[in-house]
Subunit: 195 residues, 2 copies
DNA sequence: GCGAGTTCTTGACATTTGTCAAGTCTGCGT
DNA sequence: ACGCAGACTTGACAAATGTCAAGAACTCGC
C-alpha cells in the first residue's frame, strides 16, 4: 500500500514539476524502485560513494556527519524531496554524509547507471535536473546568507515559523545542530518562544 | 591590451574546463564581450534583473547586499571566475545582489539572450553549465557546513590559509562580513595571527 | 605633500552563546 | 508496568563575539 502511494506521489511530483502528461511522468518514475526504511536505518554512510538519488515519499531523513568531536546535522529532509549526496553522486567520489531515517520512510531510488540512462532517454530530465540544481543553489545561498546577517535566535525563529512541524517531530538536538547552535541554547529559545 | 589578455584568459579557462580544442573554445568566447570596470563601478545593482553572466579576467568584484541596518558581503570574486546573480539570471526575476568592482576589472559579458543562443548552438555548454552548478553547490554546502561546525576564529584561519592574498587587497570590513563577524573581531584575530 | 574622509585598531564593557553538570522527563523494550 | 537509556531542561558560570567610542593610520584627489 505504502508502495503504491509513494509511487503516486513521485508521479504527481514529477507531473507538477515538469508540467507534463501522465505518460511522461510514468516513464520517469518507472526508473525508480521502492525501498522501505525503518526508523534508524541508514540510507547512506559517510565515506561510501553515493550511487543513488532518492525520492522521499514519506518520512524524514537526517543528513549528518561525524566530525570526531561532534555530530553535525546539515539538513533534515521531509517528504517530496529528492535526496542524494550531490558531490558523491555526480562526481562518483566518496561522500561525506550519513543519511539516516528519523522515522519509517518510503523511499524511491534510482541508481547512478539508471539515472544516466534515464537522462539519455528523457531529454526533459536534463532540464529538470538543471532546475533542481538552480533551486538547490538558491536555497544554500539563502542559508549562507542567514548565517551572515542573522543571530542564532533569528535563525531559530525563522525556522520555527517556516517549518513548525519539525519542532514536534525531530529531536531538538538535531535541529540545534542544523541551525548552528547547541541543544541547550535551542531549548531556551524554544521555551521563550512558547511563553 | 587588457582586452586581448582577458579574451585569452577566457579562452584558456574554457579550454581547460572543457578539455577541448582551441576552435571550440573560441566559438564560445566569441559570445562574450569585453567591458572595463573602474574601481567602484557597479556591475549590477540590487533589485535589477541580472541579464548577464560575466567572466572576471582580472580584478576583484564584491557581491553584497544592503539590508537596511547593515551591509552584508556574500562573496568576493577573484579572476577566472564566472559571476552572475544566479537566481536572477536563470529565472529572470529581480535580484538581491549588488556587484561592485573593488579595483579596475576586465570583465567579459554575455547577455541572457546570447547565452540561450549559445546554449542551443553549443551542446557542450550545457554540460559545462551543469558542472558549474554542481561545483557551486558543493562550494556553498561547504560554506554552510563551516558555519555549523567552526567558530569565527576557525573560519578566519581557514580563509587566511586558503586565500591569503585577499588580506592584502580587500578592505577588512568586507572580509569580516563575508566571514560572518564584525570588523573589530577580524582585526583582532588578524593581529593575533600575525604575531 | 596636504588635508578630508574613510578605514583600521584598540580598550572597556555588554551581550550572546557555549559548557558543564545535575536533575527531570520520555519512550521503548522486556 | 518497570526500568533503563536517551533526550531535554535548567542553573551557574565561562568564553566568544559584538558594541561603542576614541584615536591612529591610511588613501585619494588636489
Amino acid at each position: 500500500m505504502a508502495y503504491l502511494n509513494g509511487m503516486q506521489q513521485l508521479n504527481d511530483y514529477i507531473r507538477a514539476s515538469f508540467n507534463t502528461e501522465v505518460a511522461e511522468a510514468e516513464s520517469i518514475s518507472n526508473y525508480f524502485h521502492p525501498q522501505l526504511l525503518r526508523k534508524g536505518d541508514y540510507l547512506l554512510r559517510s565515506g561510501r560513494v553515493c550511487d543513488f538519488m532518492a525520492f522521499l515519499a514519506s518520512g524524514m531523513i537526517r543528513i549528518f556527519v561525524n566530525t570526531g568531536d561532534k555530530e553535525v546535522t546539515q539538513w533534515i529532509s521531509t517528504r517530496n524531496y529528492f535526496i542524494t549526496d550531490l558531490s558523491s553522486f555526480m562526481l562518483a567520489n566518496p561522500g561525506r554524509w550519513n543519511m539516516q531515517a528519523l522515522e519509517d520512510c518510503d523511499v524511491w531510488m534510482i541508481s547512478r547507471s539508471d539515472y544516466q540512462q534515464m537522462a539519455g532517454a528523457i531529454p526533459r530530465w536534463i532540464e529538470f535536473e538543471r532546475m533542481l540544481l538552480i533551486h538547490c543553489f538558491i536555497h544554500l545561498e539563502e542559508r549562507v546568507f542567514s548565517h551572515l546577517y542573522m543571530s542564532a535566535e533569528e535563525r531559530f525563529q525563522q525556522l520555527f515559523v517556516q517549518q513548525p512541524e519539525l519542532f514536534n517531530q525531530v529531536p531538538l538536538q538535531y535541529l540545534a545542530s542544523m541551525l548552528g547552535m547547541t541543544p541547550e541554547t535551542l531549548s531556551r529559545m524554544r521555551k521563550k518562544a512558547l511563553s
